[in-house]
């Protein structure tokens, strides 16, 4: 028998599709052949006639005023075409409307080592690199703020890194209360109050960021870039360049790894565009690996205090979570990141009384942003370890305490998130059975242990980054007389398989082989807007838009075919490239003949579909972060071997079950689960994006400790354990063919499962990530001395979180608003489009209130 994978849908490889069975069957990804033959063109692979090369000059100091930039000798260097500085691009930008705090090149102040200050363009990359070294920048140093404590201790105006935010070096403060916590704490059988710390880490995509700007006219250009969010880049370019967006074409090239790290508009993209317009010739920029580390936008280091009341059965009755995020030098997605450290805490387990206080500060370090799981792996780490502790205290097994707390499906949480289907119980059963957790947890020999943890994640953010009422994804179909279908969508392939999802959904609806579907993607001139590859939104939103477009096309074809075949349209089936009478399959025509018939009747067959997520029920300020059409669920068990003499941790095996709703392509789905496990293990065990201060005689700057792939420890082939994956399919009506997300959720349980397994192995709690050998040894030593058998943070800073918004829960009869939000009341009915994410969530969306 031929191999089932190869039989199915490999473009150009004689695909043999069974009728209507693309979705749910493993098939070769549509870009698979190009990627294994070297034919895929990434941004740096592009070359154009007369192309010039750009190199950024970056700050060598962490915080300073720019006194002078002398580019004279750079301009005189061989091959140099132009030099740009901040004055050339004075308009600020930033991914979030509320944090427009970046400049393509710093104007008068630098805020971290690596901040772009100037740019040199030359006829060769070597010449640009050499000349960039010749640019002299004179700085007047400002005090370096390198920690959360230092940021909180610098409230005065003259100490600020930015002059926006919530005062001093506080970028964002959040305080929200849902329900009354007091009764839960008063009646608790057990109250746990823990401190946790989750270290920052970076995405480390193998592809360095790259972009090529090609001028098409004096006021028109094309920018090719390795980006996850071509639409947001498009808007930032228009804003900073002062050009109409209609004159800018952004093409997202296949992205060589993103993980959130290519979701911001970046300086190098904007500067290359400006230089190309100025010089009238193409300009390419490719970052060095060191620059990629400094661009960062990765996982926020987060300090947490988590206080939870449990009743005798192990049920959580009330919880108060406090988070403090070290944001680095710019806003980036930070406002959303701050909310995300609290928003999804209610999606996995039932919490009827919940308070969340969060703060994000600015520091003179590479800016943090979204990394796989965006703001949620950190509180997930605390919650899942605390549940493990509670289970031990209450004499329950860790699986049982979770099963007793499961959030009920299809309900609205205390913080007003509407949950969809919930496959978590089946996920827990799968990994507990697979790992024989109940038989082995607590019973393995000293040094060997099992840890369990769970998680839940968004299937697409409910709201766009900037306030609008437009669809978040759209797809157009063009059918031509050849029988081929051209599908256009602004989605961007970053390796997750979004192109394959798009093609598979259209092929499924129209009963076509995958090879007959042609894609045009991520090109702002040719494809309708999709917001980008972030928040695990693409399968759900692009999939739904594609279904709508394809169903419209099918209806037009069915109407025409029904007349020719003399069969009721409702009886027609589209399969294997044919249109058939379900009652009499002999009565049929080819798909191409159906296109001819439909085009003769209607003219050109072109259809469109679009998707807007359902409106979320929350109306309070901050309710915009957290809603999603539905949520995915994951459970994982990890087995470790810990050497008590060295503290070394060896991860032996991972069992992971993911509630995928429905797998569009199981083979790619598995790849996403395995990749998430891998990235989670890297964070759990090795990876740290941290700065160190150079000695004063060497400038005293805060520089990254690891700026190379040797020093930054990511797992290799030799470090990766066996992974047993279970796909739990509980189709969700919100998703295309029932599908949910898979790209991020499976990362969430990994770090806490490792920490819980270390506890089972050697009896110590490591309440911070990464779980390094020296921390295990320190905790073992503490235990020997009779101190708490723990390693982790010892204090949480005093933070003024501001006035707490009191939001009555659904159980309390609330309407989704806060009772004390003056902005909400004042602005009710008074504002139209515009505003920030924080503001828009407070806006009235309907006349019902």
């Amino acid at each position: 028998m031929a191999d089932p994978i190869r039989q199915l849908g490999a473009p150009g490889e004689a695909p043999a599709l069974r009728p209507g069975r693309v979705v749910g069957t493993p098939f070769r990804r549509v870009d698979g052949r190009a990627k294994v033959t070297g034919r895929t063109l990434f941004a740096d692979d592009l070359a154009f006639p007369r192309m010039a090369y750009l190199r950024l000059v970056r700050s060598t100091v962490p915080h300073a005023r720019i006194l002078r930039i002398d580019a004279a000798s750079a301009l005189a260097a061989p091959g140099v075409l132009t030099v740009l500085t901040g004055a050339d691009l004075p308009e600020p930008f930033g991914i979030m409307p509320v944090s427009q705090d970046e400049h393509a090149l710093c104007l008068d102040q630098v805020r971290f080592v690596g901040d772009p200050v100037a740019a040199v363009v030359a006829t060769s990359e070597d010449a640009a690199t050499e000349a960039a070294r010749a640019v002299v920048v004179e700085y007047e140093p400002l005090p370096t703020i390198a920690t959360i404590d230092e940021a909180l201790a610098t409230p005065h105006d003259d100490e600020r890194i930015h002059h926006h935010g919530d005062g001093g070096n506080v970028h964002k403060k959040v305080s929200l209360r849902f329900g009354d916590l007091e009764p839960g704490f008063a009646a608790a059988a057990l109250v746990l109050d823990d401190l946790f710390f989750y270290e920052g880490s970076t995405h480390l995509p193998l592809e360095q960021h790259a972009a090529v700007a090609v001028p098409e006219d004096e006021d028109r250009l094309t920018l090719y870039s390795s980006t996850q969010t071509p639409h947001y880049l498009h808007r930032a370019l228009a804003q900073v360049l002062g050009l109409s967006a209609g004159r800018i074409r952004v093409i997202a090239t296949p992205c060589g790894g993103g993980f959130g790290g290519k979701s911001d508009p970046f300086s190098h993209e904007i500067v290359a565009a400006k230089a190309a317009l100025r010089l009238g010739r193409p300009v390419k920029v490719t970052l060095t690996r060191e620059e990629v580390f400094y661009c960062h936008r990765g996982r926020h280091p987060v300090l947490m205090r988590l206080r939870t009341a449990f009743d005798r059965s192990g049920a959580m009755r009330a919880q108060h979570l406090r988070t403090a995020l070290d944001g680095g030098a710019y806003g980036s997605y930070g406002v959303a990141s701050t909310y995300y450290t609290g928003a999804l805490q209610t999606t996995t387990y039932r919490l009827d009384a919940y308070r969340f206080d969060g703060v994000r500060v600015f520091t003179n370090k590479p800016p943090c942003g979204p990394k796989r799981g965006h703001g949620t792996p950190q509180p997930r780490f605390g919650l899942e370890i605390q549940l493990d502790k509670a289970a031990v205290e209450l004499g329950l097994d860790p699986a049982e305490i979770r099963l007793r707390n499961l959030a009920p499906a299809a309900t609205v949480t205390a913080n007003w998130l509407r949950l969809g289907t919930n496959g978590l119980e089946r996920c827990i059963d799968a990994v507990v059975t697979g790992s024989r957790f109940r038989e082995r947890w607590g019973r393995l020999p000293h040094g060997r242990g099992l840890g369990l943890a769970c998680g839940a994640y968004l299937c697409g953010a409910g709201l766009p980054i900037y306030w609008n009422h437009l669809p978040q994804s759209a797809v157009t179909l063009l059918l031509d007389r050849s029988g081929g279908v051209t599908v256009a969508c602004g989605e961007s392939e970053i390796g997750q398989g979004s192109d394959s999802v798009l093609a598979a959904v259209v092929a499924e609806v129209l009963g076509l082989p995958l090879g007959d579907v042609r894609l045009s993607v991520a090109d702002t001139d040719l494809t309708p807007v999709d917001l980008g590859s972030y928040s695990s939104r693409v399968t759900l939103m692009v999939g739904q838009a594609a279904i709508e477009a394809a169903e419209k096309a099918r209806e037009l074809l069915a109407g025409a075919a029904a007349d020719q075949l003399d069969v009721p349209a409702a009886r027609l089936v589209f399969a294997e490239g044919r249109v058939l009478d379900a009652a009499d399959p002999e009565r049929s025509m080819t798909f191409t003949e159906a296109v001819w018939a439909a085009e003769a009747r209607h003219g050109l067959i072109a259809t469109a579909g679009s998707y807007t997520p359902p409106r979320a029920p929350g109306r309070y300020r901050g309710a915009g972060v957290g809603p999603s059409p539905t949520y995915s669920y994951t459970a994982a068990v990890i087995e470790v071997e810990v050497d008590p003499t060295t503290g070394l941790i060896d991860v032996e095996q991972v069992w992971i079950a993911h509630d995928i709703g429905r797998a569009i392509n199981p083979v790619l789905t598995l790849g996403q689960v395995e990749g998430s496990v891998y990235m989670g293990l890297g964070e759990a065990l090795y990876e740290e994006q941290v700065v160190r201060r150079l000695p004063r005689h060497r400038s005293g700057a805060s520089v990254l400790r690891a700026v190379s792939m040797l020093d930054y420890k990511s797992p290799t082939f030799l470090d990766m354990p066996t992974v047993e994956t279970y796909l739990i399919e509980e189709p969700d009506p919100a998703g295309p063919f029932g599908a949910k997300e898979v790209g991020q959720g499976p990362l969430l349980p990994i770090a806490p499962a490792v920490a819980n397994a270390v506890y089972d192995a050697v009896g110590v709690r490591i309440d911070e990530v990464p779980v390094l050998p020296h921390k295990v040894l320190a905790a073992l030593d503490a235990a020997k001395r009779g101190d708490p058998a723990r390693f982790g943070p010892k204090r949480f800073p005093e933070v003024d979180y501001g006035e707490t918004l009191i939001v009555p829960t659904p159980a309390e009869g609330g309407d989704g608003t806060a009772i004390n939000d003056w902005r909400d009341r004042e602005r009710r009915g008074m504002r139209g489009a515009g505003g920030t994410m924080a503001e828009r969530s407070a806006e009235p969306r309907s006349g019902r209130r």
Partner: protein, 199 residues
């Protein structure tokens, strides 16, 4: 010497994927740069240009090397193989087929380097077991896959190269649900070990 800069330039015949071409390049340029820029063979990627990630791996006289650390000027008379030379006409190399079919290439950026390193290994030892594959590929980083699909693909390609033409991973592992009755896809099996169905 260039008129613009004092950088010496050299001209050499290079044998790339069995085809000889005469290439002029600055003497300090690496094989990586010359392949991508002068030869237009952009299938070979770069991830660090410091010899740390394995992304730029090509074969020189059949041995995997990091092209970012090799000078093109030293390549005269040597046989260079890149990802572009892996397929026979339009027929993919078994490694390319299995990588594509199993999703061992996600973003695809590390893929050319890993394909070349795996080709060198399988040519030396078509029966390489999983430990040998891990060892041979340990210098190649991948951030997407968690390495599992790559190991499965290399094992499967090895079986094909050994002449086990009907070899294939057991696909039941795709749906390893412990609740077989709830799916129509057959019972969970740990199987397929010999071709690396699990990682």
């Amino acid at each position: 010497m260039s008129v613009l800069s004092p950088v010496p330039v050299t001209t050499l015949p290079l044998l790339v994927n069995g085809e000889e071409r005469v290439v002029a390049f600055p003497v300090h340029h690496t094989l990586l740069e010359v392949l991508r820029e002068e030869c237009g063979l952009t299938g070979t990627k770069h991830g660090c240009e410091l010899g740390e990630c394995g992304t730029c791996t090509v074969l020189v006289d059949g041995r995997p090397i990091l092209s970012c650390l090799a000078l093109a000027a030293e390549m005269e008379g040597r046989s260079i193989e890149t990802v572009e030379g892996l397929a026979r006409g339009s027929e993919l190399h078994p490694l390319q087929r299995t990588f594509a079919d199993l999703g061992a290439a996600q973003c695809g950026y590390c893929t050319p380097g890993i394909l070349m390193a795996a080709k060198a290994l399988l040519e030396e030892n078509p029966a390489a077991d999983e430990a040998a594959v891990k060892e041979a590929l340990a210098g190649n980083l991948c951030r997407c896959t968690g390495y599992h699909k790559i190991l499965q693909a290399v094992a499967w390609a090895g079986a094909i190269l050994r002449g086990e033409h009907d070899a294939r991973p057991e696909h039941e592992w795709l749906y390893g649900s412990p609740e077989p009755s709830s799916t129509d896809r057959g019972e969970a099996k740990p199987g397929g070990e010999e071709v690396g169905a699990r990682g």
